[in-house]
């Protein structure tokens, strides 16, 4: 069963500090949104793929990688893929920018 995707406006570019994550809550879902130093914005489910879970939004961002704050797993913000030697992936959601307005499709 696939649910229809919906597009939401989550703010303007200025709402997202460079390299510092921000939590966006949509219904019962929590997103971690990051703006990388090249200006791109990424949205991921705010849950570490580590078996013990934990938030992602508070991690350190380097390039388009995120280091999760609890277990230091390295995650590719573009694909959600966890980098070796660890394994796993995070769900990512497409983000688009029109002017300063940031939207995400869920």
């Amino acid at each position: 069963m696939k649910m229809a995707t919906q597009t939401y406006t989550i703010g303007t570019v200025q709402d997202f500090l460079l390299q510092i994550g921000r939590v966006v809550v949509a219904g019962n879902m929590e997103l971690a949104v990051f703006r990388t130093s090249d200006g791109a914005i990424y949205a991921l489910e705010n849950r570490s793929p580590h078996p013990k879970g934990g938030p992602l939004a508070e991690g350190i961002v380097s390039g388009h990688f995120l280091y999760d704050p609890l277990y230091d797993w390295k995650i590719d913000l573009r694909t959600g893929e966890v980098q070796a030697p660890d394994q796993g992936s995070v769900v990512t959601y497409p983000v688009s920018l029109s002017g300063d307005i940031v939207t995400v499709s869920l």
């Binding site: 939401y8 989550i10 703010g11 200025q14 709402d15 997202f16 500090l17 460079l18 390299q19 510092i20 921000r22 939590v23 966006v24 809550v25 949509a26 219904g27 130093s37 580590h50 078996p51 013990k52 879970g53 934990g54 938030p55 508070e58 991690g59 350190i60 961002v61 380097s62 390039g63 990688f65 280091y67 704050p69 609890l70 230091d72 390295k74």
Partner: protein, 807 residues
């Protein structure tokens, strides 16, 4: 011209028996070999059945020796055939299908059977053990049809079965007789952390329950316990233990106690008949894990091939649970008693626990939970009966930051060639060394593909890495000249020197100019560089929030549920009724979960929501207590001369003064102090970074103490006469630490690395130097601001950092 070879018959086609045969083949043993196995399969890795159940492996993946292997090695294999008797007189082995085979030597390796509780109903449909492929198949089938399972037994096997069934979508309750899970391998601390973790992963528990009956008609429908409570279940796995399979030995008149009795060369009471593995009892012990059986196999194989061998003298076992995300390990002795010295550390946020037991300073056991990177190392130390030293301590209890594990190779150097590194797959040190030297392998993955080491539970990986490093020597070092992290080969000192020499200003600049491999660094180097930059240029450096760990960025401690802890500053541990009232009001208003007194005499307001943080700070209107920062945390004080009848110095006054003076400044790591009014030392100076003790004529200063993860008693540094001297000395020590400490290095490590005398020389023997250090810290102190105030006055950061967007 081949002479007639002797007949060797192996009864039991399992891990122990075939392991021994493999050794014999390697040693070129001159035997015609016949193998009997009750199961219809070739030899497989029984411990990986847990993975088959969990769904991450298939049966094919766990076959160790396929049909071809038997053929290639001229081994006659009878599967699906159970041996019923060994006839000593006619020297024949007799099987249930009438087959009889003459022997010169026999190895009995019949393993164990699942122990099925002798309670009414245990023969009902839907009740299985967890032992072999057919049990595994039964579980996979049941999960498709039924929904509620009970696993009786909270040991290794039971927990792996339970997790497997949860993964298959069943609602699973583990029923355990004791109050603690895996009580034979873990202590109470580790066991309760384990239970919490498994509950998080969806396993339910019924602890302290004795099953007295399985209810139901033909098929099981539930369990009844001794307290008359019940539990519904349409599928039951019994994992309460194993029973050595001694039927054959008994029938043949071989001496049996719990297991088949063997001597140090695995010889049974019958001439030419040996026994090995789970069915054997050696010096009163029956083992239920694989590592011992490989050790036994090695001795037996050599013995049968006429090579000289040391006798088998028993094994020290260790345990590792194969459930992803649940890392537990134990080796040797694990329950502490008065005769043990216990080293332990528990971290409830990261959910890790580490304990090492010493007896007369010899390492006799260890328990790890959550982080098992040191498991292989500890297992080895326990096995060797190593004496605890400072080096070992640092190695196994270390802070785990980068650059720490530089000289690890040494212990593998002394390891014997035959010593088993990978217990799961019986791989010796020599096999790994050969793989490296003969095939030129340089990675763990290559070694895994070639030897099988690390293929199962993975517990041996650290040792395999160490062997690799040891054998490759310089070329390995070359490949991995260790910088402060993987992004650079530069050391801390080199980086600091470059920053100063080239006048670098931001982490970005540092990484660009110094050729970082990853353009924007990583979570290890960015915070470190940010600190070094601030230390070098306190007035001009723009602190980078994005290069700070979450706690420092938020000005509060994140807790495991995502809420935060706020600690208002209370200088010297002294507060006022007005402040207490305010704290109480704010705590009530923002629904703080717990108000707790900290180890450093402050108040923790635990459980504040992220978006409430700024409001809480605003309404408290107190300075930040820095309970989260790599900075001066608290100055703990005793009552001192203001009130105490023993006090000779005003410890409260001096403590508050020091805390006001040094607060907010960044250090390489957190920094704690204490001030005492007299040598009774009620505020416990000996475990502080700087501890101060008042005496009749002045003060005594201690440095490098720590009560945390790496306990250390502080060293006596100097005595001073006046308050001014005291402050100057403390300033100089702090600044010297700020300037030479590695990021994340506590003073306890710093003092040991630099040497106490070196620090004394720099600060005590050179007045000019001391004054310069003190002046530099004073300058840096003019630049600090309170982070809470700062955020309150900066609306956009406040929103962006603390408020979540709700759609």
């Amino acid at each position: 011209m081949t002479a007639k070879r002797e007949n060797l018959v192996l009864v039991g086609n399992g891990m122990a028996g075939i392991g021994t045969i493999e050794q014999i083949l390697k040693l070129g043993g001159a035997y015609d070999i016949t193998v009997f196995g009750s199961e219809p399969h070739p030899n497989y890795n029984r411990i990986m059945l847990s993975y088959v159940l969990e769904g991450s492996k298939t049966l094919n993946d766990i076959i160790l020796n396929d049909w071809n292997w038997y053929e290639d090695n001229n081994i006659t294999l009878h599967t699906g055939t159970t041996v019923t008797r060994i006839d000593e007189e006619s020297k024949q082995v007799v099987a249930d299908n009438g087959l009889s085979v003459p022997y010169d030597k026999v190895i009995i390796a019949t393993g164990s059977n699942s122990f099925i509780l002798p309670v009414p109903g245990s023969d009902k449909e839907g009740v299985v053990g967890f032992r072999d492929i057919s049990d595994c198949d039964a579980m996979l089938a049941a999960a498709k049809q039924y929904s509620k399972a009970a696993v009786i037994g909270g040991g290794l096997l039971g927990l792996e079965a339970a997790k497997g069934l949860v993964n298959l979508g069943m609602d699973v309750t583990v029923v355990h007789l004791m109050e603690d899970l895996m009580e034979r391998q873990l202590d109470r601390n580790a066991s309760s952390m384990l239970q919490a973790e498994l509950e998080r992963q969806g396993v339910k528990f019924a602890m302290g329950k004795q099953t007295v009956e399985l209810t139901g008609e033909q098929r099981v429908s539930g369990l009844r316990f001794s307290d008359d409570s019940t539990l519904a279940a349409d599928f039951v796995v019994m994992a309460v233990g194993i029973k050595p399979n001694v039927t054959l030995a008994k029938e043949s008149g071989i001496s049996v106690k719990r297991g088949i009795v063997v001597d140090d060369y695995l010889q049974t009471s019958m001439q030419n008949v040996y026994s090995i593995g789970e069915c054997a009892e050696h010096r009163g012990v029956c083992y239920g894990l694989v590592a011992p059986l490989f050790e036994q196999g090695m001795v037996l194989a050599k013995h049968l091939c006429g090579s000289e061998t040391k006798p088998y003298e028993g094994s020290i076992v260790s345990t590792k649970l194969k459930i992803s995300g649940v890392d537990v390990f134990s080796a040797g002795e694990f329950l502490d008693s008065p005769e043990h010295t216990v080293i332990s550390s528990k971290d409830e946020w990261k959910r890790t626990y580490k304990k090492i037991l010493l007896k007369n300073n010899v390492i006799v056991g260890a328990v790890l939970f959550g982080d098992v990177t040191e498991s292989a190392n500890l297992q080895k130390l326990v096995k060797q009966g190593a004496v605890m030293t400072d080096e070992i301590y640092t190695e196994v209890m270390g802070t785990g930051c980068c650059g720490g594990g530089a000289k690890k190779g040494a212990s593998v150097e002394t390891m014997a060639d035959e010593e088993i590194v990978c217990g799961c797959n019986g791989v010796t040190k020599k096999a790994i060394v050969d793989a490296v030297t003969e095939h030129g392998f340089t990675t763990v993955d290559e070694i895994k593909a070639c030897t099988g080491a690390t293929r199962s539970c993975g517990g041996c990986k650290p040792v395999v890495e160490q062997i690799l490093e040891f054998v490759l020597g310089d070329s390995f070092q070359q490949a991995a000249k260790q910088g402060i992290c993987g992004c650079t080969t530069l050391s801390r000192d080199e980086i600091v020197a470059e920053i100063t020499a080239k006048g670098l200003k931001t982490t970005k600049e540092v990484m660009n100019v110094l050729g970082w491999k990853q353009e924007e660094g990583c979570s290890k180097c960015r915070p470190a560089i940010n600190y070094y930059l601030g230390m070098i240029n306190p007035d001009t450096h723009q602190d980078e929030k994005e290069s700070r760990f979450v706690n420092e960025r938020m000005g509060a401690n994140i807790q495991k549920d995502g809420t935060y802890t706020v600690i208002p500053r209370m200088y010297g541990g002294v507060t006022t009724p007005e402040d207490l009232k305010k704290i109480a009001d704010v705590s009530l208003k923002y629904d703080v979960k717990v108000v707790k007194v900290t180890g450093g005499q402050r108040l923790d307001l635990i459980g504040v929501k992220k978006e409430d943080l700024p409001k809480v700070w605003e309404e408290l209107d107190m300075p930040s207590g820095y309970g989260y920062a790599k900075s001066l945390r608290t100055v703990k004080t005793c009552v001192g001369s203001q009130f105490c009848r023993f006090g000779t110095q005003d410890s409260m006054g001096m403590g508050a003064l020091m805390e006001r003076k040094y607060e907010r400044l960044d250090f390489p790591a957190k920094f704690k102090m204490a001030v005492n009014g007299c040598p009774r030392n009620c505020a416990e100076s000996c475990t502080k970074d700087i501890g101060i003790v008042g005496n009749d004529g002045g003060w005594e200063v201690f440095i490098g103490g720590n009560g945390g993860i790496k306990p250390r008693i502080a060293d006596a540094f100097c005595k001073v006469k006046t308050d001014e001297e005291l402050i100057e000395v403390c300033s100089a020590v702090m600044q010297y630490y700020r300037e030479t400490g590695n990021y994340l290095e506590r003073t306890s490590e710093w003092v040991e690395r630099m040497g106490l005398e070196q620090i004394q020389t720099v600060i005590l023997n050179n007045e000019e130097n001391r004054k310069e250090l003190a002046a530099r810290i004073d300058f840096a102190l003019t630049q600090v601001t309170d982070p809470w105030k700062k955020i309150l006055n900066d609306n956009s950061t406040r929103t962006a950092l603390f408020e979540e967007t709700r759609l």
